[in-house]
Symmetry: C2
Subunit: 180 residues, 2 copies
């Protein structure tokens, strides 16, 4: 496999936008010898969780998303906080967003949300035998409806576009790889 | 399904960062009645392409990515330009990044890269019977090595983390759904 060969000549902090920072890199191309600018979004890692009940229902979250301007059917997830490991974040986000708890999370793997300009990873977990524990504890900026969907319906919901979030689709893909 | 209920009260352009613009929305929560800020990244749509030869090899691209600071094994892809439709962009990106051309692209579907803060879609295409046509035509900021990988090896490369880009994983997932 080819080596990188890029030489980074400067790195500048451009600004903080709550859930990420923007940095600008300048780097010299090994191919042309010219210098090029790259904007990066620096963010903490994310987690998402596939929570499943004994009855093979996935505990999903349905909420308005400002990026796509529509209600999105997703699995619970969020940002890993400074002092957390990803598994703790998964347990916390599941409990806060849905009110459910379950068995110890099983690590499914991680993906890079976008290696071109996002610096973080998204860690994916499976939580089995989920049970309702008590009321959601939502962040001020969240308004989330919980919806239980039979696991057998997920592929059709991806195919017909009801589930559109790339990272949610990746999590179900990793669940398939895990169960094979 | 629950209705949104959010009321957007302002929208401000924060800045242009070459491949995206940042906007700030302020919106009133239907749950709490309080106003919250949301940062959005406005970008044109993206495309990615699974190019396959008669011998069932996928034409992949291997390049250094500044987000993850490592060489990434991906499929060709890029931004849809202003005057293009996604299929034209797919044909163009395939030719520019790899030097290959093939049959008319088959639309596999689209995903939302991140509905929380990205406004765009990623359209995914399959291009069969790919053949080498001539030299790559790379953008000044690109340095790409072409690598042919047998389609049967893809799942293992996703599982072991060699292929890490979430949108590349989504494209192979949609190829599976398409072929079933």
């Amino acid at each position: 496999m080819k080596k990188s060969g890029w030489k980074i000549v400067s790195e500048e902090h451009i600004g903080n936008f709550r859930i990420f920072d923007i940095k600008q890199l300048k780097a010299v191309s090994p191919r042309t010898g010219n210098q090029h600018p790259y904007y990066l979004l620096d963010s903490t890692d994310w987690v998402n969780i596939i929570p499943i009940t004994k009855e093979n229902e996935v505990i999903m979250v349905n909420q308005f998303r400002f990026g796509t301007s529509r209600m999105e059917l997703e699995i619970p997830g969020g940002m890993v906080e400074n002092d957390e490991d990803p598994m703790e974040a998964a347990i916390r986000e599941l409990r806060e967003e849905t009110g459910y708890i379950g068995n110890k999370p099983i690590y499914l793997g991680h993906v890079d949300p976008n290696p071109a300009f996002l610096t973080n990873k998204c860690h994916m977990f499976l939580v089995e035998e989920c049970k309702y524990e008590g009321k959601q504890e939502l962040d001020p900026g969240e308004d989330i409806e919980v919806q239980k969907i039979n696991i057998k319906k997920i592929k059709d919901l991806i195919k017909d576009g009801t589930i559109g979030h790339s990272l949610v689709i990746c999590a179900f893909n990793f669940l398939d790889l895990h169960r094979k």
